[in-house]
């Protein structure tokens, strides 16, 4: 007679402990990843990584996670369930940011110290190509159709356009000082590039590689030098962009049709990167100096909680678990 009760209890227990979706955050100074449970908004796991983890991204099926261990000069491939490093990928020196191509196979890695972009085949674990780009490459993006890859170089102040078939540059476009991050939007018709020192985002028309708009930021009572756009992400339907403004400790909300800044949200200190939850109703920003992640309610555009993670959180990546 007790069996059904026991079964129900076990089921209830299992459902209550069922894994909620997670946000994975790389901690640059701690050489760890903090895993945040999206339901409880608490850190539930801390995983050791190589030295100075920065860029982080999951494979499309979320079976592995790729981590740029910059000071270990490798891209580490980790089993997200066990936290075990499966193997390293040849990445070139000092990998900082990377992007996984839509084919779920090729990683485009920016090698900051060598002024090259390395293309790695994650299946054969070999370097497919190394492309010379400008000095201090950082921002990486691949178009949704996988035909164009972008590298932004921080010192040359350019976006380099790479044809992924030939692995050759086919265009270089100037942007404002210290470009840090690039994203394709609106089905790959637009490219957005943030410039940290320039304090702007440049919007390009992808078909012509010409500048379409420039977005500027101004946070009340904050010196313009501290307004440094770095990472940004788009809400569902690409209607709005949330832009991390570095040491201004704010995230800007930009209307991606009018290119107007609609709001500024106070988050932790030196906000750099971010990611959304599954339905893009919550945003998680990494705040390097304050060592925490701020959770923003996308609808009300209000910060609801800041969660302590390791020292100098850098990258963030969403992982569904259901």
């Amino acid at each position: 007679m007790k069996l059904p009760i026991l079964t129900t209890l076990t089921a209830a227990l299992l459902s209550s402990t069922a894994l909620a979706d997670e946000i994975w955050v790389t901690n640059e100074k701690d050489d760890t990843i903090s895993v945040i449970d999206i339901e409880t908004l608490e850190v539930v796991r801390t995983i050791e990584t190589g030295e100075r983890p920065r860029g982080i991204t999951f494979s499309k099926d979320f079976s592995v996670v790729y981590i740029c261990a910059s000071d270990s000069d490798s891209v580490q491939v980790m089993d997200p369930d066990t936290g075990e490093i499966l193997h390293d990928l040849p990445s070139g020196e000092d990998p900082e940011q990377f992007v996984l191509a839509p084919d779920n196979r090729h990683l485009y890695i920016a090698n900051e110290d060598d002024a090259i972009t390395t293309v790695v085949d994650t299946v054969t674990r070999t370097v497919v190509a190394q492309i010379d780009v400008g000095i201090e490459p950082e921002g990486m993006a691949v178009s949704p159709d996988g035909k164009i890859a972008i590298t932004t170089s921080e010192t040359t102040n350019m976006a380099h356009w790479i044809d992924t078939e030939t692995q050759q540059l086919f265009a270089n476009t100037l942007v404002d000082s210290r470009p840090r991050h690039a994203e394709f939007v609106k089905d790959g018709t637009e490219l957005w590039v943030s410039s940290e020192i320039g304090g702007t985002i440049t919007v390009f028309d992808v078909a012509t590689q010409t500048e379409k708009a420039k977005i500027e930021f101004e946070v009340a009572n904050i010196h313009p030098d501290r307004v440094q756009p770095v990472g940004f992400e788009f809400t569902a339907g690409d209607t709005h962009a949330f832009v991390a403004l570095g040491p201004s400790n704010h995230v800007a909300v930009v209307n991606s049709d009018s290119y107007e800044v609609e709001d500024y949200i106070l988050v932790g200190r030196r906000v750099w990167h971010m990611d959304f939850n599954a339905d893009r109703t919550q945003l998680f920003t990494t705040n390097g100096v304050s060592g925490d992640v701020t959770v923003v309610d996308v609808a009300s555009r209000k910060a609801i909680k800041s969660i302590k993670v390791g020292r100098f959180p850098w990258g963030a990546a969403f992982r569904p678990t259901e």
């Binding site: 009572n221 932790g268 200190r269 304050s290 910060a303 609801i304 800041s306």
Partner: protein
């Protein structure tokens, strides 16, 4: 039964008198509203980036300085009104209407409590007017916080009103009120968590921190702060309750013609 009704009628009359006095002094309402708004919109604007270094309860994330000082400014309204009603008591005494009130065939404590309640209600109306203006300036709080703050505001209002009552029993003349401003209102306000959190005070001086931590006004502000975020701060609640009882007892003693200060004033 008629005794209870009598007491309630007296309370109603005293509360209405307070309300009428307030309604007839529109400039007092404006002044009461302008004071915290100047702090909020002028003073706080300059300090926008001063905070945000550490998150302390009840806040879950980083807040602007404007958001931080809202509970302190609610407390400021209650504090100034508490003192202002004590000023009006001194005035009443000089005009003779105090004698009339205190000779009513009711317990003195009851009469004083009625007076206190009247002034607290007026203060709370002003606090909500202030919160409304703050809201219009996009300084918002959790929706239920506005409701949850009411009991905290009542208790804090009673405490500060009782302090005013107690003080008024010691003030001989209207002119001495400036002393109250200098030696009670300002130290109470500035040596509290109204403008800066206590951890910030501790950074500059431990002594300053300890003084602030002992100040009942700090606890009134913290009680309001937590209530505005739909939380209870048990320590602040206890301190505010104890201070209310102590100040009220002092006021009743002060107005007792046989023992208190009233005997000396004749």
């Amino acid at each position: 039964m008629s005794g209870v009704r009598h007491a309630l009628v007296a309370m109603r009359a005293i509360v209405i008198r307070e309300a009428l006095r307030f309604v007839h002094q529109r400039e007092r309402f404006v002044a009461a509203l302008v004071r915290p708004l100047v702090w909020l919109l002028v003073f706080a604007a300059g300090f926008r980036a001063a905070l945000g270094l550490s998150i302390s309860p009840p806040y879950q994330t980083y807040i602007t300085y404007e958001t931080y000082i809202v509970p302190g400014l609610c407390g400021m309204i209650l504090l100034f009104n508490g003192m202002q009603s004590s000023l009006s008591l001194v005035y009443d005494r000089e005009m003779g209407s105090m004698r009339l009130l205190l000779t009513a065939p009711l317990s003195r404590a009851w009469l004083l409590f009625s007076k206190l309640l009247g002034s607290t209600i007026i203060s709370i109306l002003q606090v909500y007017a202030f919160l409304l203006v703050a809201w219009l300036f996009d300084i918002t709080l959790p929706g239920w916080g506005y409701v949850a703050a009411l009991p905290a505001l009542v208790l804090a209002g009673l405490m500060l009103g009782a302090l005013g009552l107690a003080l008024s029993s010691f003030i001989k003349q209207l002119e001495n009120f400036a002393g109250v401003m200098n030696f009670v209102i300002f130290p109470m306000f500035f040596l509290s968590s109204a403008l800066y959190p206590l951890w910030k005070m501790a950074e500059s001086s431990e002594l300053l921190h300890d003084i602030c931590a002992a100040n009942p006004f700090t606890h009134a502000v913290e009680l309001i702060r937590f209530a505005l975020y739909v939380e209870v701060n048990p320590m602040a609640l206890l301190w505010t309750l104890l201070a209310t009882v102590a100040f009220m007892a002092l006021a009743v003693w002060g107005y007792d013609p046989a023992r208190g200060m009233m005997t000396r004033k004749g």
